[in-house]
């Protein structure tokens, strides 16, 4: 079935006339995503690859009817305003791609989302991809690569991937596909410490998706997402098999490993604690990333 996105959802691109916006619009359209509009203040009336551009999200929604998803490609300092504009115009799901969004901006976005019943993925996300259906963001880079790398769902052996790393979202998808596994949806939750849909939230969506047989997680040091997932497993809200790899075993307290969210602080968010919590809850946690496909196949059977 896929979660979050599919070929029917109507997608708007904020920042469509910029370099990133244009390149990713091409990728998304070529892959099968229904990109219905773009938005760049001052460029209303133009077209990008045949997609009509509007000045505001509200204009687009008024003109075209429903906009289900907005994907944002604007500079970091402009993400908050763009996101809140979309939320207030009634968009239910946002995908926030830019890196370096200030965390207090994300807090405001989260508050607006909560008040309006909306959700968001990211910030600092490579996006979401449902094989055979749609991609929102930039996973795969080229439509042809995305088609080649990621298998469509296969009955009885389909996984949903949730990753805290962008590149590793593709990597997990690729190696699992080579091993014969099908994929329902790949979601990069984003590299920041504060994000919208977190690992446990996406896991709950995959749990409810009849096409997903198991959940694969690429986790990292820092934050509490993996521990929270373990709690959901322990209290029976996640019953499907969970297979995980946690990056950052070499990390020590206080040093950040690139992602704003990948830092151990005050003894919390350590590699060891995450691995322990997940294993205790019944997840299969692999030590070496190369073992992921085999571990997944074995948990699927």
């Amino acid at each position: 079935m896929s979660i979050l996105i599919d070929q029917h959802k109507r997608v708007l691109v904020q920042g469509i006339t910029g370099r990133e916006g244009r390149a990713r619009t091409a990728l998304m359209r070529e892959y099968g995503t229904q990109v219905v509009a773009g938005c760049t203040p001052g460029k209303g009336g133009q077209q990008v690859q045949g997609v009509p551009v509007f000045n505001t999200v509200a204009d687009a929604a008024r003109d075209l009817g429903v906009v289900d998803i907005s994907v944002v490609f604007v500079p970091a300092a402009g993400v908050k305003d763009a996101a809140i504009e979309a939320i207030e115009a009634g968009v239910g799901l946002l995908v926030l791609v830019p890196d370096r969004v200030p965390v207090w901006d994300t807090i405001e976005i989260a508050a607006a989302a909560k008040d309006n019943g909306a959700s968001f993925v990211g910030p600092n996300t490579l996006g979401v991809l449902s094989p055979g259906k749609a991609v929102v963001g930039m996973i795969g880079g080229r439509a042809a690569s995305a088609r080649q790398w990621f298998n469509e769902p296969r009955p009885g052996r389909t996984v949903g991937i949730i990753s805290r790393s962008g590149g590793m979202t593709s990597s997990c998808g690729y190696y699992l596909s080579r091993a014969g596994v099908g994929l329902s949806t790949l979601t990069h939750v984003g590299g920041d410490s504060l994000v919208g849909l977190r690992i446990p939230d996406v896991a709950e969506l995959l749990e409810a998706d009849p096409q997903t047989d198991a959940i694969v997680v690429f986790g990292e040091i820092g934050g509490s997402q993996e521990e929270h997932l373990a709690r959901l497993m322990e209290c029976g809200q996640i019953t499907k098999p969970v297979i995980a790899y946690i990056g950052g075993a070499a990390a020590t307290e206080g040093t950040r490993f690139s992602h704003a969210g990948a830092i151990i602080e005050g003894g919390r968010g350590t590699h060891a604690a995450k691995v322990k919590a997940l294993r205790k809850a019944g997840a299969r946690v692999v030590e070496s990333f190369g073992d992921l496909p085999e571990a997944t196949l074995s948990m699927l059977s």
Binding site: A76, R100, G141, S165, S171, G191, S193, G248, T255, S258
Partner: protein, 503 residues
């Protein structure tokens, strides 16, 4: 995150109406004696360092005379906490404590909102009292429920006469968090003095890295949390990152010496946070010690990757250079290949390098890298997405073994003789030089063909063919041109991307 020292945090609190002890920062025993004399009476001296449990580690001393203050300062300035030497000491009038509270605001990643942690029984053993801390959510739009705050204060044995002052102090702490975009602020203890005052006796603040640009008044030089004072190389790397936001460049030194049982120190170059961590795990598992962590990702320019490689190779004692990301990159990989090739050639790399370039355009990227580096003393190999991290880590170990203990000595880049004399034009961050003297017709044709339509022929020589503004941001295309020219044995183009501090 960028951490502020106690005295910096206290200065901000005082600006916003929260009382702090009277005092000042000193950096010598003589200064300490003078300040203690001016304040008169009992004083406390506190080492300024980013650690917890400072008192238990000898970082806090009391003095009741200027002479004692002088000795105490001397002791503190000799201390090191982990990798941080103490250079500054905060000297304050000692406060007579009637009661202590713990007040902190952090960001709850599950609630996606700030949260107040408040304990009206406070003190520095807060970890032990974890059970009595109250967590009160802060609604980003509506603020905190003042009644709940007053209830927590009211539940304590503190004199009712100061409850209002305490509530106001708590409000100030919350305001500070939002105002300065702090990822955390901790006032522990917030003290009720014998005289009924409310004073912040300690203060720890951490500012969000990504918000530092909006708060120049905070004077934060490097918005990074490192477990050691920034090295010169890290400062250089940080300045490079700030100058170019096309993609990420994150660099942190880890160690300068390999463990005794290690196979050796290596330069590590990751691509993508997660891929980097995974690759570091892989190369550590075969026994190597990364000298540094580095991540260039988010579709970085060739120039950014080049500069990253230069920074990594400014470290001595390396037995090899290991580069690997997620292996299945969505970005086009040839930019990274060009950037690495330029750096390796300029420095005449003499240690083995294994680079996993898997992802879009991997075949082209591997070809570029291996072809450009084929004459170098060190063997350079490129790998694709079907080559697993474990496989390339093993291959890397094999190559290092075969290199018989050769280690890397940082050196100046080699710059062609014509640089400084020949035809040139500027680009952002550097200068492009073209050796017209060696441009015969076939060479000119070759250069123009590979110049991404940026050059044209004039009198049979390649010159800039577009406006200055148009070529300014084309450093990656011109870097690729330089490498392609060198590969074709026509080394007539040089892109000077000098790195302040290294060159």
């Amino acid at each position: 995150m960028a951490r502020l020292y106690e005295y910096q945090g206290k200065a901000l609190l005082a600006e916003h109406g929260l009382e702090v002890p009277e005092g000042g920062v000193v950096s010598s025993p003589a200064e300490a004696a003078r300040l203690a004399a001016r304040l008169g009476g009992a004083v406390v001296l506190k080492a300024q360092a980013w650690i917890t449990g400072r008192a238990a580690k000898g970082g806090v001393k009391f003095a009741s005379s200027p002479e004692e203050a002088q000795r105490a300062a001397a002791d503190l300035i000799r201390l090191r906490f982990g990798n941080f030497p103490v250079t500054e000491v905060l000297l304050e009038r000692a406060v007579v404590i009637a009661h202590e509270l713990f007040v902190s605001v952090i960001i709850d990643d599950q609630a996606r909102a700030p949260v107040l942690l408040l304990d009206a029984r406070g003190g520095s053993d807060i970890e032990e009292r974890a059970g009595s801390i109250r967590r009160i959510p802060i609604d980003p739009r509506r603020g905190i429920d003042g009644d709940r705050v007053r209830q927590v204060i009211g539940d304590s044995p503190i004199d009712r006469a100061v409850h209002q002052k305490i509530a106001r102090a708590v409000e100030t702490v919350i305001e500070m968090a939002a105002l300065y975009e702090l990822t955390s602020i901790e006032v522990n203890p917030l003290v009720v003095t014998a005289g009924g005052g409310v004073v912040a006796v300690d203060c720890r603040m951490t500012v969000d890295d990504y918000a530092v640009f909006r708060h120049p008044a905070l004077g934060i030089e490097i918005a990074r949390e490192l477990d050691h004072p920034a090295t010169e190389l890290e400062r250089i790397a940080y300045r490079l990152e700030q100058a170019d936001h096309r993609g990420t460049f994150y660099f942190a030194r880890l160690t300068t010496a390999a463990a005794p049982d290690s196979r050796g120190l290596i330069g590590f170059h990751g691509a993508g946070g997660g891929g980097s961590m995974m690759s570091m795990d892989a190369v550590a598992r075969v026994g190597f010690t990364p000298a540094n962590f580095c991540d260039t990702s988010g579709n970085p320019s060739a120039a950014k990757v080049y500069r990253a490689a230069r920074v990594i190779l400014a470290q001595g004692g390396l037995v090899g250079y290991f580069g690997s990301g997620s292996g299945v990159a969505s970005q086009e990989q040839h930019h990274s290949a060009y950037g690495l090739a330029k750096a390796f050639c300029e420095l005449s790399l003499a240690i083995p390098a294994v680079i996993r370039l898997g992802g879009n355009g991997e075949d082209r990227a591997v070809e570029i890298l291996e072809d450009a580096c084929r004459g170098l003393p060190g063997r350079v190999e490129g790998y694709r997405k079907d080559d697993t991290p474990a496989f390339i880590a093993d291959r890397f170990a094999e190559l290092v073994q075969g290199a018989d203990g050769a280690t890397w000595t940082p050196r100046a880049r080699s710059v062609p003789a014509y640089v400084g004399r020949s035809y040139r034009f500027p680009i952002k961050g550097g200068m492009v030089w073209i050796d017209h003297e060696r441009c015969d017709r076939p060479t000119t044709a070759f250069v123009i063909e590979h110049a991404s339509a940026l050059l044209r022929a004039e009198d049979g020589l390649p010159v800039l063919g577009v406006s200055d503004a148009e070529v300014a941001a084309k450093d990656s295309e011109l870097l690729a041109l330089e490498v392609d020219c060198r590969r074709a044995d026509r080394p007539v183009v040089f892109v000077d991307l000098a790195i302040p501090g290294l060159d």
